[in-house]
Each structure stands twice: as C-alpha cells, then as structure tokens.
C-alpha cells in the first residue's frame, strides 16, 4: 500500500553528508522545467506525480536523473514531444559529437 517514494520512517543506512557539485546538464534541466512552469505549461505537481510513477529502479537513480526520466514522461503525456523523438535526437547529437575532429 505504501508507494516507493513515500519513504518517511523506512529503515535506511548512514547519511553521506558531503557536498556534491551540480552538473551542467542538471542546471539546464532545472532551467527548462522552470521555463515551462513560468508559462504555466506544466505544474510542479505534475512533475512530482511522474517522478512518483517511475518504476523503483528508475526512482533509485540519482536525483536529477530521475527528474530527467520523469520530465520525458511529462513532455510525452502533454504531447510536446515523445520518447522516440528524444531518443532519436540523442543519437543524432551523439553522432555529431563523435564526428568532431
């Protein structure tokens, strides 16, 4: 009955209290989510719901990775793009980077 994200009170190990730098792609992701939200094209609650609906193995990804996966689902649900379109563009960008001299 308790869903995976609803983890208050669950047993867990020690806390890693160290600081981590935020990677550039994570900042870009945050900015894109913010830009859509500022135009009321998406709501924070919608992204939260998509994060909660991830399979446990995807939920267990690092924070911004699960945001990214949920964001793909959100964009597809809204009809802004699709996983297929995103994956195709990822392949094209990768090819372009690898083709650089």
């Amino acid at each position: 009955m308790r869903r995976y994200h609803d983890m208050g009170g669950q047993p867990a190990g020690p806390i890693d209290t160290s600081d981590h730098a935020i990677e550039p792609w994570a900042k870009t992701l945050t900015a894109m989510v913010g830009a859509l939200r500022a135009q009321d094209l998406s709501r924070v609650d919608e992204l939260r719901r998509h994060i909660e609906d991830l399979a446990p193995q995807d939920y267990d990804r690092p924070y911004f990775e699960r945001w990214a996966e949920a964001f793909c689902d959100l964009l597809e649900e809204k009809g802004f793009t699709s996983r297929a379109e995103i994956e195709a563009r990822m392949a094209a960008i990768k090819a372009a980077i690898e083709a650089r001299p």
């Binding site: 009955m1 308790r2 869903r3 609803d6 208050g8 009170g9 709501r43 609650d45 919608e46 939260r48 719901r49 909660e52």
Partner: protein
C-alpha cells in the same frame, strides 16, 4: 478566486484531529506514516488548490483548507528513541482530517 467558492473552515488551532486512514491510488501529499494518527491543529495555513488534482492537469479548485498539525513522535512510532515531548509537524488538507472524537479505537 472568490472567497465564496471556499467552504468554511472545519478546524481551529488546538483541535484534536485524526488523519484519515486510507491508501487511495494517485498523487497524495499525506505520507503513509501519518495516516490514522492523532494530532493537534497548530495553525491554519490558508486555502490552496488541491495538489491531488493539479498533478493531473485539473485546476484543483475550489481551494482546500490546509492546516499545520503537530504530532507527538511517541504517537507515531512504536519504540520512538527520544523523549516523549519530541514532535513532528506536517501540513494536512482538511479532507484528510477528522475530529478525533469521531474515531472509535
């Protein structure tokens, strides 16, 4: 949003309340650890569109009353490791609360 669209408040600071014990599917902002627990209304936080509906693209209106509710940790966790006066505060929407007297335990 017109104030007339928001229902009168059901609770006031100091009221003893119980969190409804239910596990509906979908986006809920009430952690399972607090469902069914007894607490005290600490303050009224305002009326907000319901996040349970905003999550699915609805407007969440009419706004729902939100209360900050204080719980004794010893009332939440069996064998809480700490003094009896430790507390936990959460915000709970009115539709997730019942007056404590309504529940027969």
């Amino acid at each position: 949003m017109s104030p007339a669209a928001v229902s009168p408040r059901r609770f006031a600071p100091g009221d003893r309340v119980t969190v409804v014990y239910t596990h509906p599917p979908g986006h809920r902002r009430i952690p399972s650890y607090i469902r069914g627990k007894l607490g005290l209304v600490e303050r009224y936080c305002g009326a907000f569109p319901n996040p349970e509906e905003l999550a699915y693209g609805f407007d969440g209106l009419p706004a729902r009353h939100l209360y900050r509710v204080r719980f004794q940790q010893t009332a939440i966790w069996p064998a809480y490791n700490g003094p009896a006066h430790d507390t936990l505060d959460l915000e709970i929407y009115e539709h997730w609360l019942r007056p404590a007297e309504e529940d027969v335990s």
